[in-house]
Symmetry: C2
Subunit: 196 residues, 2 copies
DNA sequence: CCCATAAGAAACGCAACGTATCTTAAAGGT
DNA sequence: ACCTTTAAGATACGTTGCGTTTCTTATGGG
C-alpha cells in the first residue's frame, strides 16, 4: 500500500494530480476540495502538490485549464436572430462546463491574491468573441437585416458578461428561455440601436 | 475581564454582534473573518453566535443587511445620457459599498447551501430598478430623445447586471470611463434599438 | 554504475471548526 | 421581594485541514 512499486515523476505525476483535482472538483465541489483529498486521490503526498502550486486556487485553475472545452466557432445559421441564439447558447454551455461553484470559490480567494485574480480573468475571457460578434453583424448586414456597423468592444463583450452574470447568480444551467430573452430583449435591440 | 458587570441580551446583544461582524468584514475581509474573531470582538462567545446564525455566510448577510446604504431615487438631470450616467453611477456606488470580496465569499458558500443562495439573490436585487429605467425612458420620450417604448424586464435589469459583472470581475470601484462605455456603447444603443 | 534530484511518508504546531457542559446574570410574573 | 425561567458567557472538547519540516529512498541522466 505504501507505494506499489512505481514512483511517478515530472509530467506524468503532474497530470495525475491534475486529474485527481478535476475529479475531486466535480465530485465534491470546490468548497470541499482539500489539498489532502487531492493528494490522497492521486496517491501521492501533500508536499508534492505544494512544490508545484502555492494553494488550492492555483491547483484548481491548473486542473480546469487542462479540462475545459475547446472554443468553437460561430457558424452561419442563416439569420441574425438564430446566429445570436447559437452564440449565446455556445457561451452558456461553455460557462456551465466551468463549474460555476468553482469559479465562485476561486473568486473568493482572488480578492486576497491578485495573481489569482489575473489568472481567473484570463480564464474567463473568450478572446475571439469580439470577432465572432462582428462576423455575425457583418453577415446580417449583407442580408440587409442590419445596417453595417463596427461593434464597440464593450458591446461585443456583453454576451459573455450577461451570460456570466446569469450563471453566477442562478447557479444552474442557463435556460433556453433566458437565452431567448437576452437575445430578443437585450442584444438584438442593442445591435439595431448601434446602427442608428 | 470575565464580564465587566453587565450582561447584554436579546436585540442589544444581537446588534453588538452584527456591528462586530460588520467591522471585522471591513477590516480583514470575508475570507479572514471567523466566528471566533467576531465573538471576541463583540466580547461574547461562540455559542451565542451559533445560537442565532447557522454559519458565517448567514451572519455576514445579516450584518450586511443592517449596514447597506439606502436605495436612492433617480432624479431628472435634464437629458437621457446624463440620466443614465447618473443611474449607472448610483448602481456602481451601491455595489462598491457591498464589499464585493464578501459577496464573492458568500457566493462560494451559496452553492452548497441553497437557502444562502436565495438570501444572497434577494440582497443583490434592486427591486425598483425597472421603474427607474422606465421613468428615465419616459422622460426621454417626452423630450423627443427616444420614441416611447415599454422596456422589457430583461433590458431593465441590464444596468444592474452589467455593473455587477464589472464589480465581480475587476474587484475595485467601477471607473467613470467604464460607466461611460456601458452607457454609450451598450445601454444607449439598446434603448434606441428598442424603439425601432 | 553512480549521483543529483525529486517522490513520498510521517509528523509537526497552528487555527478554526462546531458542540457540549456548566455556571450565573437578567427579566418577569406573582 | 422572591423565585423561576431564560439565555449569556466561559471553557474545553475532538476534529479537520493547513502549510512546513525532516528524512528516506526510488528513479533517470550522465
Amino acid at each position: 500500500m505504501t507505494e506499489p512499486k512505481t514512483r511517478r515523476r515530472g509530467a506524468e505525476l503532474e497530470q495525475a494530480i491534475l486529474d485527481a483535482a478535476w475529479d475531486e472538483l466535480n465530485e465534491v465541489g470546490y468548497a470541499a476540495l482539500t489539498i489532502e483529498s487531492v493528494a490522497a486521490r492521486a496517491a501521492t503526498s501533500k508536499p508534492v502538490i505544494y512544490r508545484r502550486w502555492p494553494g488550492r486556487a492555483e491547483l484548481v485553475l491548473a486542473a480546469w485549464g487542462r479540462n475545459r472545452p475547446p472554443v468553437t466557432y460561430a457558424t452561419d445559421t442563416g439569420g441574425l436572430r438564430s446566429d445570436l441564439i447559437s452564440l449565446f447558447s455556445r457561451i452558456a454551455r461553455r460557462a456551465e462546463g466551468m463549474v460555476s461553484e468553482a469559479i465562485a470559490g476561486v473568486m473568493g480567494e482572488a480578492f486576497r491574491h491578485p495573481e489569482v485574480a489575473d489568472l481567473l480573468r484570463d480564464r474567463l475571457r473568450t478572446a475571439p468573441l469580439a470577432n465572432w460578434v462582428q462576423e455575425i453583424v457583418d453577415r446580417a448586414a449583407d442580408r440587409g437585416e442590419l445596417t453595417q456597423v463596427a461593434v464597440p468592444k464593450r458591446a461585443a463583450r456583453a454576451p459573455l458578461d450577461l451570460v456570466r452574470n446569469e450563471t453566477m447568480m442562478y447557479g444552474g444551467p442557463v435556460s433556453d428561455e433566458t437565452i431567448a430573452e437576452l437575445v430578443d430583449d437585450v442584444y438584438l435591440p442593442l445591435l439595431r440601436g448601434l446602427g442608428s
